[in-house]
C-alpha cells in the first residue's frame, strides 16, 4: 500500500488546523501540490486492554504499522538506522489516553506523487493507520508540525487527567483535595534508580477537582470516585500515581486517562494539534467500547 501525500489533504482537509504558527497553505485546495512538509503530527488514543502495554511497546506497534502503510518515513543515518519517530511524554503503563501524540519525519526524496485517478481511502490517513494499529489505538487527527515547533517532550507543559480512585468516601476525597490545594508544599517519596528521593508535588498540581457524580456505585459499578487533574510536565512529568500518594496512601488508583496535553507559550494555551470535530473531552466512545 502506498500513501500518496494527497492523503495529507484528504485527512487534512477537516483536521489540519490553523495552528498558532499560521494556517498550512494549500489545505482545502486538493488540486494544487501539497506543501512540502517534512514533519507531520498525529493524535491517537490508547484505550482498553492495550493500556497495559508499555511506551516502548507502543513505539514498536507504530514502527510496524508505518512500515505496512508504506508511508515514506525518514530514517536516521549511521550504524543502526531507525525510523525518525518522535513520541511525546511517555504514558505510564496501565493508563489510558485520548490525547497521545507522535511526530513523524518524512523523507522528502521518497514522497510519492499522487497517482492519477487513485481512489481516496475512506477516512484518509487516520483511517488507514487506525486499521493497521491494534484495537484501542485510533488515530484521530493529523496535521503538519508547525514551523518552529520543538519536540513534543519540550513543548508540552501540562496534561489533563481523569482519574478514578477507591478507598475513601466522596466527602473525604473532596476534603483532601482542598487540603492539598491549600498546602504550600506536598512532599512525596518516590523511587529513583533504586534510591528514595523526596519531591514537592504541590507546584506540579495545576488543577484538581472531584467530578460530580450521582450517588451510587459509580459509572462502572465499583464505587470508584472520579476526579480531574491538570499536572505539569516540567521539570518532571508527574504521574497520576504520585498525585494519589499526595492525597493519601490509603487511596487506590483504579483508572487513569490522559485527556489533553497542553502547550503554554506566552500565556496562551494550545493543544499540540487543535481539536477536530470530535471533542477529545468527550472521547471516542465507540473506540472505547470496541477496545475494552
Amino acid at each position: 500500500m502506498t500513501i500518496p501525500d494527497a492523503t495529507l489533504d484528504g485527512a487534512g482537509a477537516p483536521t489540519v488546523p490553523p495552528n498558532g504558527a499560521g494556517a498550512a497553505p494549500g489545505t482545502g485546495r486538493p488540486d494544487t501540490p501539497a506543501p512540502v512538509r517534512d514533519r507531520i503530527r498525529l493524535r491517537y488514543t490508547k484505550l482498553g486492554k492495550i493500556r497495559f502495554t508499555s511506551h516502548r511497546d507502543v513505539a514498536r506497534m507504530w514502527e510496524r504499522a508505518l512500515r505496512r502503510s508504506g508511508m515514506p518515513v525518514a530514517w536516521s543515518e549511521g550504524f543502526s538506522p531507525h525510523p525518525l519517530l518522535s513520541f511525546g511524554l511517555a504514558l505510564p503503563t496501565g493508563c489510558e489516553s485520548r490525547a497521545e501524540y507522535l511526530d513523524i519525519r518524512l523523507d522528502p526524496a521518497e514522497r510519492p506523487g499522487r497517482r492519477p485517478g487513485a481512489a481516496e481511502p475512506a477516512g484518509g490517513l487516520p483511517g488507514i493507520l487506525s486499521g493497521l494499529l491494534p484495537e484501542g489505538i485510533e488515530v484521530q487527527a493529523v496535521g503538519p508540525v508547525p514551523d518552529g515547533a520543538g519536540s513534543l517532550q519540550q513543548d508540552v507543559t501540562s496534561c489533563n487527567w481523569e482519574l478514578e480512585v477507591l478507598g475513601v468516601a466522596a466527602q473525604e476525597l473532596a476534603t483532601r483535595i482542598e487540603q492539598l490545594l491549600d498546602a504550600p508544599s506536598v512532599v512525596i517519596r518516590r523511587q529513583r534508580k533504586g534510591r528514595q528521593v523526596e519531591d514537592d508535588l504541590r507546584p506540579s498540581v495545576l488543577a484538581l477537582a472531584p467530578i460530580e457524580v450521582a450517588a451510587g456505585p459509580g459509572p462502572r459499578g465499583d464505587g470508584a470516585l472520579p476526579l480531574r487533574a491538570e499536572l505539569a510536565t516540567h521539570p518532571r512529568g508527574v504521574r497520576p500515581g504520585e498525585l494519589l500518594e499526595g492525597l493519601g496512601t490509603d487511596l487506590v488508583l483504579v483508572r487513569a486517562c490522559r485527556t489533553h496535553q497542553w502547550i503554554e507559550r506566552d500565556g496562551a494555551r494550545t493543544e499540540p494539534l487543535a481539536s477536530s470535530g470530535t471533542e477529545p473531552g468527550n472521547g471516542a466512545p465507540h473506540a472505547q467500547e470496541r477496545a475494552s
Partner: protein, 655 residues
Amino acid sequence: MESLWPRIEPLLWGVAKPARYIGGEQGARSALRRPCDVAWLLIYPDTYEIGLPNQGLQILYEILNDRPDAVAERSYAPWLDMEAAMREAGIPLFSVENHFAARAFDVLAFNLSAELVYTNLLNLVDLAGMPVRSAGRDAGDPLVVAGGHCTFNPEPLADFVDAFVLGDGEEVVSEMNEAIGHWLAGPPASRERHDLLGALAALEGVYVPSLYVPRYDADGRLLATEPVDDTVPAVVEKRTVADLAEWPYPTHQLVPLTEVVHDRLNVEVFRGCTRGCRFCQAGMITRPVRERPGDQVRQMVADGLEWSGYDEVALTSLSTADFSGIEDTVRDIIEDPRHGERVSVSLPSLRVDAFTVGTAAQIQRVRRTGLTFAPEGGTWRMRQVINKLIREEDLYSAVDAAFSQGWRRVKLYFMIGLPTELDEDVLGIAELGKRCVEIGRRYHRSVTVVCSVGGFVPKPHTPFQWFGQDTVAELRRKVVLLRDAGRGARGLTIRWHDPEASAAEGIASRGDRRIGAVIERVWRAGGTFQEWSEHFDLGLWEEALIAEGLTLNQTVYRHRDQDEALPWDHISAGLHRDFLWDDWREAIAEKGVEDCRWTPCYDCGACTGFGVEHVVASAVPPAGGSQGTGQDLALGGRVPVRFVTAGATGEGDPR
C-alpha cells in the same frame, strides 16, 4: 462461557509486564465457540515472552481455528506475581483471547520443548482447577494432552497427561479433533473418559500412558513398559508430515503487542536434519529432511513481512545453511523490491562449515546482529566423537569470513561433559576461543569472542542415550578448569550454564514413570519456573528423589547397558535401536559418519519405517561443509600453520 476479564483487569495494575495477559495480538483468533465445536486451549508452560513465538503452537492454532468444528485459544504460564494474585482472587488459568477459564475448554494441549518446564505443567493444571493426576479427573474435566520434542520420553509425565502426541502435529491434530468431537456428541450421562482415551490411542502417533504399565524387577530396574491389553500397539510410532509444502503454516504469524523472544517473522525452511550430531535429539527424532520449496519460502517471507510489518525474518530449521540454494534465497529476499531496502535476514543455527564469505556478505547488508556458531566440541577428537565434523580449518575460515565482513562480536557454543571427554578437550575450548580473537584482531582493533558452555545432558533416542551424565562436581571442576584457562585473555569471555540445572534436566530427560512423583514433589514444594536460574533449586529435586527412594546416581549419572530396558522403548521415532547402538560404539571409537542426504543410507530407520524420503532440492551439498562433501577429513584436526605458534597444545597433530 463467561469472560473473566472484569476480574483480571484490577490485578494488572500490580503485576510486572501486564501486557502478557491481555491478548490482542495481530493474528489472534477469538471466534466464540459454536455448539458442535471442540474447544482447545493451547498452552505453553513458560512465560508469555518465551511461549508466544513458538511456531509449533502457532501452526496448530491456525489449523484448528481454520476447521469448521474447532476453536482454539492460547494460554501461557502466569509469572509468580500474577499467579499469586490470581490464586488470592480465586481466578483460574485463563485464555488470553477471550479470557475464558481453562476448565471451560474441552482440551488443554501443552507444548513441551524443555524438561525443566514439567513442574509448570502440573502447576497450570492445578491453576485450571483440576486434579493434577489423570486418575483423579473425570468426564467433566478437560482432556490434558501434550506434544513437542520432550514427548519422546513421556514417562516422567505419564501420570499427569492423558495423551501424548509424537512427532509432527499438522495431521494428527485434526484426527484428534474428530475423535474428541465424536465423543462429545454422545449423551453427557453416558460419556466415559476411558472410551475417549481408547479412541485416541487408536490414532497413529498418540500415546495414552494409562493403557501401558511399566514392569520392574526386585531391585527396581525397569524390565519393560507394556500395553495393558491387545487393543493398543506395543510400540507407538511418531507422525511424520511427508511434504512440508502442503503445510505453509503459520500463514498469519502472531504479532505480539509486547516484546517477546525472537520478535521477528519466522519461516521454517526445512524440518529434520541428518548431519547426525550424536548429542542432538532434535536431529534424530525429526528425520528425514524435508525441505520447503524455495519459491514457497520466498512467498511466505513476502506475505509474512507485508502482513506483520516486521523488518526482520529468520529462516528457521535445525541447520539453515544446509538449505538448498540458501545464498540465492537470502539474496532474493534482501533484493525483493516489495520489502523496501531494510529487511534483514537472520539464520539461526548456522553451521560453521557451511558459512562462507558469500553468506556473510548477504546477511550483513542490512543489519549486523551478533553471529553465533556452535562447534560444540573444543578439539577435533571431541568433535569426531559427537559427530560434529567441523575441521579446525572450517571453523577459522567461518570466523575469518565473519570478522572480514565487519562483525566484531562472535559467539561460540560448546558443551562439556561429553562422552570420552579429557581435560585437554575442555581446555581446547579456551584455545579455540583465543585463536578466534586473534583472527578478529587482524580486522578490528577490538573484538569479542564469547564461548558459552553448557553441561551435556544425554537425551532419549540418540546414540548417547546410554551415556552416564557427568556429575555436578565433575562439571564444576571442568568449568573451573576452563575459566582459569580463559582468564586474562583479552577479548575472550567464557560463560557457562549452571551444572546443577543440567543434573535436574537429566532427571527428567531419561527418567522413568517413577520420576512423576519426584516432579510432583518439586512442584508441591514450590518449584515452578525451573528454567529460570533465579528460581531453580536443585535442592528441591534432591529432596524429592530421596523421598521417593531414588538417587541422582541411579537416574542421571549411571551408564546404561546395551540390553537394559529404557523407559522410552515403547515409543518410536523410527530409529532402529541397533543403529543407535552402533553409532554409540563408533562414537567411542572416535569415528564420524557422513550426512546421508548426500551419501548412501545407514538404515537408521526414519525413512524406511515411515515410507517417506528426504525432500532435498539440491543433490549437491552446500559450499564448504565437511560431511558428505568428499573433503579430506584425515587432517580435520590440523591447525592452520598461522596458529601453530599461538597454542602449542599438541591437538594440532594429525591423528
